[in-house]
Amino acid sequence: MNKTGIVIQREYMTRVRKKSFIFLTLLMPILLAGMVVGIVFLSSINNKKAKVIVVADETGEYFPVLKNTDQYVFIEAKEGFADFRKNSDESVYATLVITDDLLKNPEAIALYSHKQVVSSVENTVASQLNPYLSDKKLNSYQISIPNLNLKNIIENSKINLKIKTVKTDESGKETQTSAESASITGMVFTFLIYMFIFVYGAMVMQGVMEEKTNRIVEVIVSSVNPFDLMMGKLVGIGLVGLTQFGIWALIFLGFGLSGIALSGSFSLFQSINGLFASVNMTEVCFYFVLFFIGGYLMYASLFAAIGAMVNSQEDTQQYMMPVTVLILFATYAGLFSAQNPDGPLAFWSSLIPFTSPIVMMVRIPFEVPWWQMLLSVALLALTVILIVKLAAKIYRVGILMYGKKPTYGEIVKWLKY
């Protein structure tokens, strides 16, 4: 095995075997799934406890119209509204006061509560009273045409518009899409690639710093040339990242399959499956891996150079700032691009190599023209080669420089050594 291979093996094995890695990799999806299930569960508990609404109906006409629902129970007020203010019965959620004929005076209805009333109370009341009121209004016109039921005519004349979004490809094949699911997929993967680049880039920096501050690097570079050592580290840690992504993908696939099996009984999975059915997940994952490799190599080699420059953790801040700002900018550009995946921000930042790995993830579910994809990947590849070369020069000098932290001027000089 060549030496880069030996280095890759060590970097990979020591990290993959760490308890923290195993723990995080296996626990993260379970935590996420647990959170979703927990939220669904908690909100369903909430639904079962019906809230009491006291109805003070002075007309006596509307109370019988209101039907109890799962969430709300309507009780007729025994006293008048005036008594309500003094009465601070905790079991009463709100009081609905109706003072006049609502056809003549639609504003004669009000909800009183000690707390801010949730909008669903309003909606429930309105949806129950509205049909009654419109019927009554209709009847008040006293129109009678033989053999015709006016109510049915009006009912039939209502048209409910349902807009489907359909994507067509060149062969004319139609796929039903959902803009929403595409943008959610894009955002999830943007966030994921941001996280992977940042976490694994920082891991490279830690690794380089560990070797430098331990001084073991001097022994290692007496057997391996510094470029091979750096590449071994980059590749080894990158593979750890891909392993983690692979495991997560498998776990979610497992969840998805069991979700399909359960979907009859569990509507949540049904909706998730429906959401992603329209996005080509294989394609998204392929590009995720591709752009992760590019973005990771670019940023991680910068992080490796930073790790080589400094002598202690505290010194890293100053040099990490510009890199962190770049990555954060890319992430925000990505999140904003989700609103308008074909806009100028999305277009340019998905071509510029420093932002493209992150921003492109938002655009991929929306079908990127092939030439833009090719250009983006080519630019990224070129930049990676350039950055890795520059970083290697800084790395080579930096790992053997102890003492004070270098100035930016000195670092430029290192490039010329």
């Binding site: 030496k3 020591t14 073991i216 290692i220 007496s222 057997s223």
Partner: protein, 301 residues
């Protein structure tokens, strides 16, 4: 035979000239001392020999041919600033470093286990490095340095951080390596150890070799013709033309004198001149220690 030779090696760092036309010749099977004050350029020279950095000009010859990339398999290097992975198990990292020096995984494991057994530290194999004391870590690093059985060994300040017991152990190991015919380059400030174990030295000061050669020869070249003698008599009667009394004192019942031989005559001729008028109990030439030579040479510049 000359095992390793540097010829007119120059290394420039930005504004600082680290090595200025440095030439050293390391004979095969000898212990070669690389001496010099801090910042003189020793570590830079060692890094060039290890191919960690490249010289700006000049060349390094390994067994009379230019140093090649694969020669590093034949070099064992113990740097001054020692360190290993703190969180990694001792055995694992020893195997890793041995593999980087060209051993196969199986061979590395076998040899390391043997060495660990010899040093009676096999129980450390599965411990993390950070669980061991500093002295233990140094021992492990020494084993790692020699495990691939290189012909050339480079020790940069090997005794720093060792207690006297381990220093003795290490010294014996180094001499044992020499007996096996290994060539050893040995960088140090510790002049006493130079006299004990070095055959040849080169003294580097301010980027240049200011003194080099065989230790015994250098010491005799630097002698100042000063002798220490003891007499029963309080007075030493000498002819001021050939002998100058520098110091005198009482030592129990006897007296001692430090005298300098002013004529260019041999020690025995000088002694016979003294014996003509005095009864001499002991006669000893003061040979300058490497420490004195070091200080004298470095200060002169």
């Amino acid at each position: 035979m000359i095992f390793l030779e540097t010829k007119e090696v120059v290394k420039q760092y930005a504004a600082h000239l680290a090595l200025n036309r440095v030439s050293i010749r390391v004979p095969e099977g000898k212990v070669f001392g690389l001496l010099g004050p801090n910042g003189a350029g020793k570590t830079t020279l060692i890094r060039i020999i290890n191919r960690i950095t490249a010289p700006d000009s000049g060349e390094v010859l390994f067994k009379n041919r230019p140093l090649a990339p694969d020669d590093i398999y034949n070099i064992g290097y113990l740097p001054e600033e020692r360190g290993l992975y703190k969180k990694m198990k001792v055995g694992e990292q020893a195997i890793y470093l041995a593999r980087l020096k060209g051993l196969s995984a199986a061979e590395a494991k076998k040899r390391l286990k043997d060495r660990f057994e010899k040093f009676e530290i096999l129980s450390w194999w599965d411990k993390k490095l950070e669980e061991l004391s500093k002295g233990m870590q140094q021992k492990i690093q020494f084993i790692i340095t020699v495990v691939h059985d290189p012909e050339l060994l480079i020790f940069d300040e090997p005794f720093s951080g060792f207690d006297p017991l381990n220093t003795e152990l290490l010294k014996n190991e180094i001499l044992e390596l020499k007996e096996k015919g290994k060539t050893i380059i040995f960088s140090t400030h510790n002049m006493a150890s130079v006299e004990e174990i070095c055959d040849e030295i080169a003294l580097i000061n301010r980027s240049e070799v200011v003194l080099s050669g065989n230790v015994a020869e250098i010491r005799s070249q630097h002698k100042k013709y000063i002798f220490k003698l003891q007499t029963e008599n309080e007075h030493l009667s000498v002819n001021p033309d050939y002998c100058e009394i520098l110091e005198e004192g009482k030592y129990f019942r006897n007296h001692w004198f430090r005298v300098r031989n002013l004529q260019d005559i041999s020690n025995s001729a000088f002694l016979s001149l003294l014996l003509q008028k005095n009864e001499i109990l002991s006669f000893e030439e003061e040979i300058p220690s490497m420490n004195d030579i070091f200080i004298q040479t470095v200060k002169k510049k």
